[in-house]
Symmetry: C2
């Protein structure tokens, strides 16, 4: 018996639960982004590999003294960076259940319940999002929980490569036997997430396979430009394998015209993968269902439960219209994985829907969120943030010296300083971002829109509410005032205003 | 405020901790592998997506009534299948802390503590395993926690492809620009884990790139055969990219001669990746350090903390000798990920060591295990299982009607029925496996050794002790007796003996 005994686990488990509750409750009093220098954490760590067992409380003390003071607080109500990664406490309960079961669901037979709960959840969510029934297992498609949208994009590309080299859909193909041939092309825009470029590289296509479609108005894919590019490539002997429209780009939340893109792509047999990593979950709300217009025409669709749907990272939801496509591309069965259930063809083995063999029972944390919040709770969560973003965008648009850098999209607002001098505004916006982040009261990140530096405000924290966004707006105005006074031309914000608690 | 409030989380969290404690404590009274038919779980599930919030206890009731009765119990003391996935309760505490922090460590700047704790742990473990200091960050290399050995093999292959097309180690290469060219070759054996074949497929090389080296005595790589194959391939204009020796094959736990393989591979500039997914952690014990002989000569080394080192899936440890290699192959930096710390070059951004962008703070669960067990506790854990396996192997070797199918390796024993008639023995071994698994008292899996069907007994459960292995041996003998009596020629074990509790 090498493990904690159950009674000791009860005692220590309660202590860790209490630690988590206290940490989350205390977040508003902490800086969102603490000041940390490279090497600081390592220098503060005690011996991490003791010879003999140590009591848990000494680890918790180290976490308190060394780890949390050097942790960007993604769950802080003032976190507006990147896209949110809102890990609701409810999802942690499900994750703990999953660890307790400790089953590894590579095959149906190694976790029948894990496999079927995941299938049922993904079928249910497909309905709740308004996806075409063809994306459910009952409809011949199906969904799976990947670790990230990056992995989802990669397996979609692999299925596309397989299909592209063998349109008949068998489990052999030139791609499986001989690999890529250098003629494959993948169509994205300059705003497509970098995970698509990474997937193309991983899949052995190299950067030359990436075709960046010229943007139309608003920076989204111009279907005519896509059509022209596809025609020219096909005429040149190249093979369009995959087209990736984005619903909610990382930069500004822009939405590519999926229906038109799918129409064009299908003419050339290209797989269409919709990356809706952040924005897709908003389709739970009927008023945002339009985001998915045309998705019924595509081959695969991905949205993350771990961004804006309260489920702790990692839980990326991937649906395909044809459940055979991923196993056809990815399955390899050595003797030690053979089993009667798989041979029967009556079950889904999720190992064949991903690169890794092993997998956790991620569905439990998603299920716990859906169960304890209900669909109405999730819709309310999303609607609350969208309303806060609309309010913030109105303030930005009305405020002298500020401008919206792009139209607000759902809960994402992109803004910049605006005095009419582009270079000065870029410097001021950069300084404003640095000043806000240095304050510790909010954390924002940046992007570039039409060549201009812009601040992104991605509202989506589990506990982010109206008072937090009010405080952010106050902070933005004060910091902008300070920047204007200083005419700051660098990232030196040592004199910038600090608000609230001592940092 | 969409989340549980902290007090409610305390109450519910304690309830889930208690559920996990009770589940683990009750495992010995459950069948390891319950009888489940495809579709049974889905049919038993209530509405998983309620409109309105539901109390947690109703979810726990569904888990009790539908999920656990349909879960292969990987944490059961009678689980000897595949390789163990021993998820010690201590590791769950660390995973819960990680979820509580909810930080996403794609960049150093998005989780400074997460990044540096991981670096420190991997450096420390490198020392504890006796790896060459060149695998530590201080030594110019470094380690990372991947989700699985499959992913580790894939990124090693990608780094190898990059280096192979650009020996100078820059961040551009023909591979990054143009992809693979069809001349790349990857060297494995018939016993190499299927994840290598999958990695080659994912990377766009196709099955033809896999070169299966003829085995020498014991089925392990014959260095002379490898050398001849490499020479012939180079002469034919092909490019040896990666050679993968295995330390502890999945089938029988065999160990390829790493030192000799590395010597041969290096002559042709091929990357050497050692897959020690299961066996590598045994090197914590000085008496098993010989497993890693020659590893100081290779480019990358992988062993899983989630198999036999008590850390809940997923935690696969990957070390490389040159910390620049993975980022050189994998880094892509869009504007929204740019930050001062990364630009300074003074930090490690672990997103560049993996395919996905996002990542959890997995180091916390590993740290918790190391802290609460200490290195001596972990060595004792491994030694206990190795001793149990040796005892079982002795019994098998001495028992009429049984034979060892391969020499025992660490905690893995491969056995078969042995009456001298190969076909009859294969049928009997198959029937024996089915009978043992149907009993619910133990779960075993199979492999094929030298063309003969064999049962694998992979000892490694967190709570598996001497009494459990004694009971397994008793069960094996009884079931074998029943099989011999029945002269069972099929998998119909409806009349096989049942032992212990009612199933």
């Amino acid at each position: 018996m090498t493990d904690l005994d159950p009674d000791e686990f009860r005692r220590l488990g309660h202590a860790v639960v209490d630690w988590v509750a206290a940490y989350r409750a205390g977040l508003p009093d902490r800086p969102v982004r603490p000041a940390v220098t490279p090497g600081q954490v390592r220098a503060g760590l005690p011996d991490l590999l003791p010879e003999h067992p140590q009591p848990l409380h000494t680890l918790l003390e180290t976490v308190d003294h060394v780890v949390t003071p050097a942790t960007l607080a993604w769950q802080h109500p003032g976190f507006y960076g990147y896209f949110p990664a809102n890990a609701a406490l409810a999802s942690l309960l499900g994750d703990l259940l999953s660890g307790g079961l400790g089953s590894q669901g590579m095959l149906w037979s190694t976790s029948p319940a894990g496999t079927e709960v995941e299938q049922a959840l993904l079928d249910g969510l497909a309905g709740a999002l308004g996806l075409d029934p063809g994306f459910t297992f009952a409809g011949g498609g199906g969904g799976t929980i990947a670790d990230s949208a990056s992995s989802a994009a990669l397996v979609a590309l692999l299925a596309a490569l397989h299909r592209s080299s063998d349109p008949e859909g068998s489990s052999t193909s030139r791609w499986r036997d001989e690999g890529v041939d250098g003629h494959e092309r993948v169509y994205v825009t300059a705003e497509t997430h970098s995970s698509l470029a990474k997937a193309a590289r991983v899949a052995g296509l190299g950067g030359r396979a990436l075709r960046v479609v010229d943007p139309g108005p608003g920076g989204v894919i111009a279907p005519d430009a896509l059509a022209a590019l596809l025609r020219a490539d096909v005429a040149a002997g190249l093979r369009p394998v995959l087209v990736c429209p984005t619903v909610g780009t990382t930069g500004t939340g822009a939405v590519d015209p999926v229906r038109a893109v799918a129409g064009v792509a299908r003419e050339h047999g290209a797989w269409v993968h919709v990356d809706a990593a952040w924005a897709g979950v908003a389709a739970l709300c009927p008023e945002h269902r339009g985001l998915l217009d045309g998705v019924e025409l595509v081959d695969s669709f991905c949205t993350d439960a771990h961004k804006w749907l309260l489920t702790a990272f990692d839980a990326s939801l991937l649906w395909v219209r044809d459940a055979r496509t991923l196993p056809a591309a990815l399955s390899i069965t050595p003797e030690y994985l053979r089993n009667a259930a798989s041979d029967s063809g009556a079950v889904v083995d999720f190992r064949d829907w991903q690169v890794s063999l092993g997998r956790r029972f991620r569905a439990l944390k998603l299920w716990t969120v859906l169960h304890t919040h209900g669909l109405e709770g999730l819709r309310s969560h999303i609607r609350g943030h969208v309303a806060l973003a609309a309010g913030l965008a109105d303030r930005v648009a009305a405020e002298p010296g500020f401008a919206l850098a792009a139209p607000p999209s759902l809960a994402l607002v992109c803004l910049r300083c605006d005095t009419g001098d582009p270079d000065a505004d870029d410097r001021a916006t950069r300084a404003l971002l640095a000043a806000v982040n240095a304050s510790g009261r909010a954390f924002l990140t940046h992007t570039v829109v039409d060549g201009r530096y812009a601040i992104r405000v991605a509202i989506g924290g589990v506990t982010t509410g109206a008072a937090d966004v009010d405080a952010l707006w106050d902070l933005l105005r004060r910091c902008a005032g300070w920047v204007a006074e200083q005419a700051v031309a660098s990232d030196d914000v040592s004199g910038a205003p600090r608000h609230g608690s001592q940092l």
